[in-house]
Symmetry: C2
Subunit: 441 residues, 2 copies
């Protein structure tokens, strides 16, 4: 049975309206059913996954696919049980819906509440990892959103079965409407999805830099995510050299292929000789290739290639680090605002005032003092499950948890009031008194 | 001196970064200077305005412009002083910046804060009212945003002088960078602005339905606003007829040309005879033209034209009301979700359960029980100055105050921590303990 993307989106919109009025218990019960089904139907899932993996292995042996992609594709081992546990952990999160954000008395017996609600219909487009499908389905359901999913072609069979398992398990569950989850089949489907700005409220792309950029360039629907992660470590004049070295090594090498890894090191000129003497051998011993500006190279000529303008703009996602010596804090801040991607940047300094100037002046989603950029992550930030990291300045910014999948509505409870009663001859002032009450439906 | 839009936007981006680090006192002082200058340079402003008004009067007499537009254009009388008072009242609002939204201990001496910051560069495009220029400049400055403004052609001279007065008054003020306010001159400039998604973070269109729709259709920059305001009053089976009549009359007639006025009346079939008998004469005596579906007309045949499908989609902004009799609450909710514009809708009922189902089930920015839709407004909601009303589900929804002009950043204060310290053999759990602290720079 194939459904057109348009039909799927219409079904998703209707489902979203019904999901929006489900109770916490109903959504959690459906999540538990999803978790159980992932374990119960493990053989079916692994059967499909084995076929995908076999095909991918061929592609790898023919040089059409990289080894890391193959690794992410496989659900062998404990992965099914792990997905089940992940769904259970999403169920255990606090309900992001029906949270009263503010309550105000406008006048006697006229009370205004601002309450969280789902966004509606969310399109998620992700590359190969099939566990991303399960994660986003779980987060979507928890937050009352309908989801339209398109996974990588390499994982098509696995995704098909996972989608069916989730649909079977949840749409039997009390209150959960059919159509809340739709699986897109082809690249053409994605093109159609990106054009449906009336029916889809948000697009979340998960994948490479080029992939996200392609999505951003091809839709008018709001996109939550980030293209580049060009993160900086700035070592200020009064930094502790040992601490700075520890942070640089962690930010660059602890996990290189991620958006919160450092790509550029900025060093205050006064501390550059001491810092580079210490950190350069540490980095080189870990296989890091350094590309320095003229001043940095003059301090460690044998250890650095020459950086070009392009290096300051580049997200390597690899064991490469660009290094620049700056005159002062201001030059560092300006460099980051100019060349960075507004993702995550850190200063290492013992000077509290310099730290505050950096934290305020750097226009990024996460700004840090004496900590590694690698902390910029939903789990580490305590947000529970992570939807992604956003570099947008609207809606959610930085690591996004379930809250980022919600909107709000204003609920006004009156007792017959009209605006005319408050104006002209009838003038009555509004009280605008904060209420310590929550809205409960 | 004319500046290209690109130069203006570059200047605005640089100014925005400097505005972001100004203190509350600096921004308020600049607002006070702005307020004083508006009074002090009143003659200059009125001189320009008189010329605009004279030209507009010609246009009106030749039938090229409507009388209401002319009225909105004029700053005669107390308008300059009024604009000054408005700016002073914006200065008096609480600072929306540097508000700590959350604080979490991730581990010992590793503290995470989520803090409000400006959005950055905001483009505002508005039709004739020149006081809109002053209002948005004041709100932008208060919230630390740079603004690029384009007003209506009819008010070109007035806007030019107002812009100059504001720039002169504020850029002399301590900490306020030049370039924070730019005035666009032509329709071509707007085209350029709408294409600058790297330099402009948000577009706010203020004007007619068609105007907003044109903006939405011609930019990839996020837009805050609403096109239609198709608001509904639903009178449930157990409504008090007197209260319902009062609310319908207010929602329809108290001020017809606004987005929160009611356009469609839905009536439960059981209460339709009694309700229509009471409300139809009331509405007709106020000049309201009624367009009913078959069932409504059968109850008041002489008083109603026949409604067509198009009526349920139409924002009249006029003394016209579409009327439909529905079978039950569910049909009312479905009609609103299908034909409405997700702006503001109200139910009149004595049945608490029906009210809750309506408040939860209707997918609109404002949902109300026993109150007029006309309350949906930033001032009435107690938000202070209003930026506009948004029907988007992302970022701000409903009436938007200064908070809607802010974003946030995460600030992490550490003492040398690295992610590697928390993983593998070094395993240390995150504490994720809420802190009762605020971040102060």
């Amino acid at each position: 049975m194939t459904q057109s993307v348009q039909d799927m989106a219409t079904a998703a919109r209707h489902a979203a309206r019904r999901l929006a009025v489900t109770s916490t218990a109903q959504r959690n019960a459906a999540l538990e059913a999803m978790a159980m089904a992932l374990e119960a139907r493990q053989e079916e899932i692994l059967g499909a996954n084995t076929l995908d993996v076999a095909e991918a292995q061929q592609a790898v042996s023919q040089g059409r696919m990289g080894q890391p992609l193959l690794k992410r594709l496989s659900l062998a081992g404990d992965k099914c049980a792990e997905m089940g546990r992940m769904v259970t952990s999403v169920a255990a999160q606090p309900d992001p819906l029906n949270v009263t954000q503010s309550a105000t008395e406008l006048s006697t017996a006229l009370e205004l509440y601002r309450v969280t609600v789902p966004i509606g219909v969310i399109g998620v487009i992700f590359e190969s990892r099939p566990d991303a499908l399960v994660q986003i389905a779980a987060l979507g359901l928890k937050s009352g959103n309908a989801v339209l999913l398109k996974g990588g072609r390499e994982a098509a069979r696995t995704n098909q079965v996972l989608g069916q398992v989730i649909v079977d398990a949840t749409t039997g569950s009390d209150g959960i409407p059919s159509g809340w989850l739709g699986l897109l089949a082809s690249r053409e489907d994605v093109g159609v999805l990106l054009g449906m700005d009336q029916d889809v409220d948000l697009i979340i792309p998960r994948g490479s830099n080029e992939f996200v950029r392609h999505i951003l360039d091809n839709t008018r629907i709001p996109v939550m995510g980030h293209a580049d992660g060009i993160c900086h470590v700035y070592v200020d004049r009064s930094a502790q050299i040992g601490m700075a070295t520890h942070i640089i090594v962690d930010a660059k090498t602890q996990y290189v292929a991620v958006c919160n890894a450092a790509e550029t090191l900025l060093v205050h000129q006064d501390v550059a000789p001491a810092l580079l003497a210490r950190v350069v051998p540490e980095l080189r011993s870990r296989g890091v290739v350094l590309r320095g500006d003229a001043r940095a190279r003059s301090l460690a000529p044998a250890a650095m290639d020459a950086a070009t303008e392009a290096d300051w703009h580049t997200e390597y996602l690899d064991l490469i680090l660009a290094v620049k010596v700056v005159d002062d804090l201001d030059q560092a801040i300006n460099h980051i605002n100019e060349y960075g991607s507004h993702h995550t940047d850190t200063i290492v300094t013992e000077d509290r005032q310099a730290a505050e100037a950096f934290l305020r002046g750097v226009d990024s989603a996460s700004v840090m003092h004496n900590a590694s950029t690698r902390f910029a992550d939903g789990f580490r930030y305590g947000l529970g499950a992570e939807v992604g990291i956003s570099t947008s300045r609207l809606h959610s910014r930085g690591p996004v948890g379930l809250e980022g999948l919600t909107s709000y509505k204003y609920v006004l409870r009156g007792s017959g009031q009209c605006v005319g009663d408050f104006e002209g001859e009838q003038y009555r002032p509004y009280t605008h008194r904060p209420l310590r009450k929550t809205w409960t439906a």
